[in-house]
């Protein structure tokens, strides 16, 4: 009896195995191998080393990437699809006197032309709606779009752009963020001032802290503007169908936010807009809000055909968000043995022409500006200002890398001046378990010192310095 059961079990196993193998043989290479996967749910204890760490992991989309089968927006096309291009201003600050699109419209193959005036609500933005979809009357930076063309091919659209005549009346412009702070500087968005968001953090008694210090160090650090340069440019396809519903295929990483922005700009109820977030060829924070989507939707509405837009690499640099350049002034009071008693920081973020994600970046930069160090007496003042440059927005870290560069450079300067080992001065000041952040958050699982010591031991910090 037991043998029979065993035999039946064996037969079943063989049959199952045959089925599995047949299934595997039928699969195209585009189907991932049946890799063993842990079935029992693993709920690790805090700080417990789980088997996931150190294991080789593959991506579920890795095979399609390698086969060239991943469909990015640039790879999609629909019957009757038109190609759109946007004319960029090329001037940083000007009033648009007139736009003449007649010659462009006359080009064979050009199907529709759109200007800012035709956009139902011509403003958007995640914090402040200070950005126009297409400039209407006023240009705030050189990458502003002033008109758009939809044509049968991208090349025809590009040719038509050259024929659009725009007459500008130049206006004063601001390019330096420190200059933008001054009262006598022209306002980028009059009547509003150039400082459009600020944050102040105060902790302890700054005066007393500096008074007790043996030495006070000052330093100014600045970082440059950085473009995300995701390999895939911003791309989208819009189709406004005969039922008055819009479908957008887009690379935007926040499709619900994008849908709200589209609803606002197109004056269309949310339920008439369908966003399809496709696979994205790199975002890094640069594809977190709408760019050309309303333009494509309106061009599609005009023609009743799907319209696709792909930014050129040049547009990526001039017309999409970048990382904030920050001018960072540090003043730090320390004891002779390198303990920080007080720190005063002023951050001036160059926000470019529009707010975009500047508020978020400002907050994070301000909170992190003092670094992972115990500083009882602290003051951080952070401002973000308008300038007539490409707008700055979200990019990996939201302001954290910039201030890290500043406070660590400052730390090295202090260490060198006091003749203390740079590692040692950090160990004397670093957060410990239960330290409070500048905004009063009590920190747990703090391993700054342990990490520093382990890293130093592994790459031979002492040896290379002796």
């Amino acid at each position: 009896m037991a043998d029979e059961t065993k035999l039946a079990g064996k037969q079943q196993e063989i049959a199952l195995d045959a089925v599995r193998r047949a299934d595997l043989e039928m699969r195209l290479p585009a189907v991932a191998p049946a890799a063993p996967y842990p079935i029992e749910a693993l709920v690790p204890e805090v700080r417990q080393q789980t088997p996931a760490v150190g294991q080789r992991a593959t991506r579920p989309d890795g095979r399609l990437h390698g086969l060239g089968q991943t469909r990015y927006i640039g790879d999609l096309s629909f019957p009757g699809m038109l190609h759109a291009r946007i004319k960029r201003a090329g001037v940083a600050s000007a009033r648009i006197v007139r736009i003449d699109t007649r010659a462009a419209e006359a080009v064979p193959g050009v199907m529709a032309v759109l200007t800012g005036r035709e956009i139902p609500v011509n403003s958007f933005g995640p914090s402040y709606q200070d950005q126009a979809v297409l400039a209407d009357g006023r240009v705030f930076h050189a990458g502003d779009g002033v008109a758009a063309v939809a044509a049968v091919t991208e090349q025809v659209a590009a040719e038509a752009l050259e024929l659009i005549r725009v007459e500008y009346e130049p206006l004063p412009a601001v390019f330096d963020p420190l200059e933008a702070l001054r009262e006598d500087t022209p306002k980028v968005h009059p009547p509003n001032g150039n400082v459009y968001a600020q944050k102040t953090i105060r902790k302890g008694d700054l005066k007393a802290g500096f008074a007790a210090a043996d030495r006070i160090f000052e330093g100014r650090y600045r970082t440059q503007m950085v473009e995300h340069v995701s390999l895939e440019p911003h791309a989208a396809i819009a189709e406004w169908d005969a039922n008055g519903r819009v479908t957008i295929w887009c690379t935007v990483g926040r499709i619900t936010l994008a849908r709200a922005d589209l609803s606002r700009t197109l004056k269309l109820p949310l339920n008439r807009i369908r966003m399809i977030g496709t696979i994205v060829g790199g975002n890094f924070g640069g594809k977190n809000e709408i760019t050309q989507e309303p333009v494509l939707a309106l061009l599609s509405k005009k023609m009743g055909r799907p319209v696709k837009g792909v930014f050129t690499r040049g547009e990526e640099f001039t017309a999409t968000t970048t990382r904030h350049p920050i001018i960072m002034d540090y003043q730090t009071g320390v004891t002779k043995d390198g303990r920080i008693l007080a720190r005063k920081v002023r951050l001036v973020l160059d926000g470019g022409a529009y707010c975009s994600w500047s508020e978020t970046t400002l907050g994070k930069a301000a909170i992190l500006a003092s670094g992972p160090y115990q500083i009882e007496n602290l003051q951080v003042e952070a401002y973000v200002v308008y300038t007539n440059k490409t707008m700055t927005g979200a990019m990996r870290g939201f302001g954290a890398p910039q201030v890290c560069f500043a406070y660590e450079s400052h730390m090295d300067d202090i260490a060198a001046a006091l003749g203390i080992d740079p590692l040692e001065i950090r160990l004397r000041n670093a957060f410990v378990e239960g330290s409070a952040s500048p905004t009063g958050q009590v920190l747990h699982s703090v391993v700054v010192k342990e990490s520093l010591l382990q890293a130093a031991a592994r790459f031979g910090w002492k040896e290379t310095r002796s």
Binding site: P29, R59, G66, G68, T70, S230, P233, F284, R313
Partner: protein, 169 residues
């Protein structure tokens, strides 16, 4: 219009295109081979890399007419129905690609290298993919994958792909 006849992935294809058409546009828009990507349109990023007569080229810089009569291999021609190319398998297993946009170009640059040099050093691999930018910065895993694929290919040197057997004489 210019008439162009090329062998793409072992298959003869013909098209009549405006003379300014690039090889990349021809492949992507006329032949629907969208594996090669348009990244910069200036020959800087390498996302459009294809292999023409055994040499990796930036398809955005080569005119379609210049490819007339030549043998072109795109990423679509690398795998067979039966198996992935060892490079593709290695890239998958090493999780070398993140967003994947640069992937087809990198793999084809690596293929061209391994065809010429089956046992490259890590330095030679770096050199071969120097023209392919990856903004997700996954170069290390790509180099690991290419090293691994080279070992695999040396083991099965006789097992050539049908595409390569069917190349132009």
């Amino acid at each position: 219009m210019t008439d162009v006849t090329i062998r793409v992935n072992g298959e003869l294809r013909a098209a009549s295109v405006p003379p300014e058409t690039t090889l990349l546009t021809l492949l992507r828009e006329r032949f629907q081979l969208t594996g090669a990507k348009l990244g910069c349109d200036a020959g800087d990023c390498g996302a459009c890399t294809v292999i023409v007569d055994g040499k990796p080229v930036n398809a955005c810089l080569m005119l379609a007419a210049q490819a007339d009569g030549r043998d072109v291999l795109t990423i679509e021609g690398l795998a067979t129905r039966a198996a992935l190319h060892p490079l593709q398998r290695a890239f998958e297993e090493h999780a070398s690609l993140q967003c994947g946009f640069c992937g087809p170009g990198v793999i084809l640059s690596a293929k061209a290298l391994l065809d010429e040099n089956p046992d490259p050093t890590r330095h030679e691999i770096r050199d071969a993919i120097a023209g392919n930018l990856c903004r997700c910065t996954g170069y290390t895993k790509m180099i690991d994958a290419i090293e691994h694929a080279a070992r695999e290919l040396r083991k099965t040197a006789s097992d050539r792909l049908p595409v390569e057997r069917g190349g132009l004489p």
